[in-house]
Assembly symmetry: C3
Homo-oligomer: 449 residues x 3
């Protein structure tokens, strides 16, 4: 039942380059919460994984307290001088268009135009990312410098967009394990050319899915959902309301490619094991931090609404709104670090390995210490080659004593690691040694009290 090789396997299965290539490939697509861009993105994921499904929901469908909005697509958008010179062009940056801008064609005064421009006076070189999903408006996002260069009295506007009944589309994949209990990952995929927010997490999720699909003998089932933010999570919940009770642990993945330390934002349910696991894992990471739950941020807002109250936290590097590149044209391919992508991937791999190995050993010789010498366990044998990538994880005599002492059916391997100060991989390996020596049995659930 133990799977000490899982973490090394997961870790070896990808690379900084493999991760970064997904970010590069997806960056040029103009995504929004509906439309062709998000469908192209889901197709890209589907081509690289197995059994990936997409779900289309027609505009106007009620989902929880909301309704699916009209579908938005945009082909072109320009601002031209009266001479016909193009001064702002969607072709130059996917961020130039106000998301969900209605179509508009006509000549307007500079004053009227400026009422439809969004810029960042404090960051004059950057184009902001802005949306107006539920208040109908047209508009452009430009740099402050661009805006300053617009000195003509009038401009011609052409927004070749459509906003009309269509569909909202999300994607998901379930990797079935022995248990029906699910480990849930949610990734928002509605942002246009922003690399960290959230192509970083899409890339990591693709690689995790590929690796887990190539792995035998998973204990838990793993579900990855790729949804447009807010309305997509609400739509997914509306369609899966009866199945959410299967979710044992979950993470919203977001902004996992910048060079900041890891951040874990706790699930609303303070007692969820997700919090216990992540708080312990993350305290070993450099510059990492834990944040209390608050009802703002990413789709954990929906998963942690009081009716669901799911054991879902949020994993990030730099948190939303806390880095200057956030929601601007500076969140580009230069901003995402291939090595940071790998570190985030490896951290999630450690979390998965923890879940897959967090069982309850029960000693067969609980009265006094068993005599280790006659079983060849004192002194301990040397590490077999290839069992772990880090020799420091091979158990010492003390790890063996810890596992034996705590094998009372009330301490999981995670509890043992926490109490002993040993790494979880060490405890997994020590438990494996003792199981092989017939000194303990491994149970899935704790003993009755």
């Amino acid at each position: 039942m133990l799977n000490p090789r899982l973490y090394p396997e997961l870790r070896r299965a990808t690379s900084p380059d493999a991760l970064f290539r997904h970010v590069e490939a997806l960056f040029p697509i103009l995504r929004s919460i509906t439309g062709e861009g998000i469908r192209q993105t889901l197709d890209y994921i589907s081509e690289r994984t197995r059994e990936f499904i997409t779900v289309d929901i027609p505009s106007g469908t009620p989902v929880l307290d909301w309704n699916i909005p009209d579908e938005w697509n945009v082909k072109a958008a320009t601002i031209r001088t009266c001479n016909g010179d193009i001064v702002v062009d969607l072709a130059a940056s996917n961020l130039h268009i106000l998301q969900y801008s209605v179509p508009f064609h006509g000549r307007v005064s500079k004053e009227v135009l400026f009422g439809h421009l969004f810029s960042l006076p404090e960051q004059p070189d950057l184009i902001p990312y802005k949306t107006s999903y539920y208040i109908r408006n047209w508009g452009f996002c430009v740099s402050e410098n661009q805006k300053a260069s617009l000195t003509d009295p009038e401009y011609d506007i052409d927004i070749d967009a459509s906003l009309e009944p269509g569909h909202l589309t999300y994607g998901e994949v379930l990797i079935a394990g022995r248990s029906d209990e699910e480990i849930f990952f949610s990734v928002h995929c509605c942002h246009p050319s922003l690399a960290n927010d959230n192509l970083s997490s899409i890339a990591i999720a693709i690689e995790l899915i590929r690796t887990l699909q190539a792995t035998d003998h998973l204990h838990f089932s793993y579900r990855f959902v790729f949804v447009p933010g807010t309305i997509g999570a609400i739509a997914w919940l509306a369609k899966n309301i009866g199945n959410t009770q299967k979710i044992r642990n979950g993470l919203v993945l977001s902004c996992l490619g910048d060079k900041g330390g890891l951040t874990y934002k706790k699930s609303r349910n303070e007692d969820a094991s997700t919090n216990r696991y992540l708080e312990w894992l993350i305290e070993k990471e450099p510059d990492a931090s834990v944040r209390e739950f608050e009802p703002y941020g990413y789709d954990e807002r929906q998963y942690c609404s009081p009716g669901f109250n799911l054991p879902v936290g949020c994993l990030m590097r730099s948190p939303n709104g806390m880095f200057p590149e956030y929601h601007t044209s500076a969140d580009n391919l230069d901003f995402v670090q291939p090595v940071a992508l790998l570190k985030s991937y490896n951290f999630i791999a450690r979390f998965i390995s923890m879940l897959e190995n967090d069982f309850y050993p029960v000693s067969r010789y609980p009265f006094g210490e068993p005599q280790l010498g006659r079983r060849g366990l004192y002194p301990l044998p040397a590490a077999p080659p290839d069992i772990t990538e880090d020799d420091a994880d091979w158990p010492d005599q003390m790890s063996i004593l810890w596992v034996l002492n705590l094998s009372d059916g009330h301490h999981s391997l995670f509890d043992m690691a926490r109490q002993s100060g040993k790494s979880l991989q060490t405890i997994i390996l020590a438990t494996g040694i003792l199981e092989k020596a017939d000194l303990l049995d491994i149970h899935q659930f704790p003993a009755a009290v």
Copy 2:
């Protein structure tokens, strides 16, 4: 059921001057645990409030483990030289007489007299306040300087006092709310001319009673008792032993007019909600502190005796025994600050507003976030004039999200304020907005687990 206007109403109802005038008016009265002085004091309160009752208990009546003592009154007390020059005169300071001094008339040697004088060698200008309720004695309290000036070999003593069967008198008022549960305030009123200890609290209690009696729709009932210290609290408990279970929260009020920071001394019952409420409220006050319960101090000693163990703490500014003016002639009208009286009053008003609004909202749309935009709550409307004295209390979008997220029937408004870091008034107002938008219902008690 919510009453967001309660705190502004309570706060507007009094002033530093109104509070201080009560202290001035009551200062000249010679009070003790029995006698005319305490009855005059209770009459003063009765004239300024409604439905105030006084209770007279005859001397000798058993009350719990005690007996009501004889009633003490004193008309005059002097020390004269053999020439007839008055050197100490009760008419000059109510503190000059040892409380419960027996009558005495006669010429005594300086040595005998000195055995009956109480002074403060470390504070030579001040007259101490001393009592001898249960050991019969006669005596005077004088300043160390006065004592030093007594150099004659003999003096004539006249103490025109009576100590004989009579009554102990206490007063109380109940302001009935919708609920039988009582919020209890106890004020000791047995000290002669000491302004902070405890005319300050009598003044605040009078103003609180007047304001609460002018307020409609109170949820809880409010009981204020004015008792002589120790024996009065014991007498009240003896008469009300069956009713003490109605007390939901309580405070002994004492020394609330000096310029020190607020002090909350916890109730003996560590888990009492009184402690939770007061600890949270007081940590926002400048220079405030919390003290653990100890079985010494004011009448919380009796309310927190093990048989009662009532949820009653003690609210003070400078604690008893911790300021040099304590129990001396320096605890006079100059020592009490009108502004400090108001600050103490306002703090108690905030406590009352907290209690009256600490209900359990339950969201009608607990699955996912409700869509606020179509209900005109995104963005939020502006603050109506006059809802709160402090514009900073008007909710922001985040406060709305907090209340919605925690409206699960297990979080009271107080819990929400504590968890969100928002002010309680903000949470009250946000809850009111959401209730008006039919997004939640308000319950008095938490949902079943």
Copy 3:
């Protein structure tokens, strides 16, 4: 039921000299886990106490997961040059022989000899203490300097030892109190001439047994076991498996004679009252520390194995492995401080006095404070001579108020000391005063909730 005189009695019953004489007397004996040395040691204890029993278990007997090993005895052991000069001689130090060395006679090359020598390169003057109980080997322990002086090409070895079927022997004594519940002390007594580890604890245990046997009216029963380390504790547990449930609190005593501060290593069962008691007692000691349980150290490893999980911690001064003299010839009679022995003894005496007095008073007058004045308790009477060795322990008025206030049947005297900040002896004495005044009753167990 209270026994306020117990601590003064225990404290007066011994002296630094009395304690140190046992260490001196036992130091020359060559002890091991079996053999004549440990039997001589147990005889010494038996001669100085009453009802001391020894238990012999034949070699080969299964005990839990182990088997009793063969008995080891050694008469002489030398290393000689080929000229016949003795260069290492067991007669010079009991540490020179590798414990459980097999017999050996013959000439060996320097290289072969060096493979059987144990020394401490970092501490070149000291002889180490080494064992090889379960891997058959012969060997000597020598100082690094001695080893360096061995420059001949060959040496003659004579180890006149026997390792053959015999017995393992341990000793124990039970001092019966009114209750069957046992307070358990375990002392390892298998080390040869090491003074702190563990003659210090043997000496303290002898004096504790003598004093407790001379004391009337013990509430609990006290069991002291003297066992060879690991195998002896396992043997005792195997013989007493059904009786271990009687153990209410226990301590492994070890290394109690050096000048380091006291150390309490917690029992595995975090909630055991032993931990609560010891943590509170030890925080009053200079330079003291508390260590979390770990499954390494002394025989608490066996008592705290998961099947037993006994409420047994370990009391030490400097912990095993944490002082440079540990397991070397420097752990000699100079290393043990007579005054440190007494301080350790007194600490255990305080622990015993705490256990014997930790009852639950219940006030007869729980409603309000009882009137102390008419019972002669306000002011308090003076301390009778001889009730306590430390006048500072005599209660003040505040101690009386604390005991009355907490006498609700849910606070033991220990709880009262902890909450009030008074010493336990003060609380014991105050409780005694109040019991004599008929103000409270003393119960053995807490009141039902």
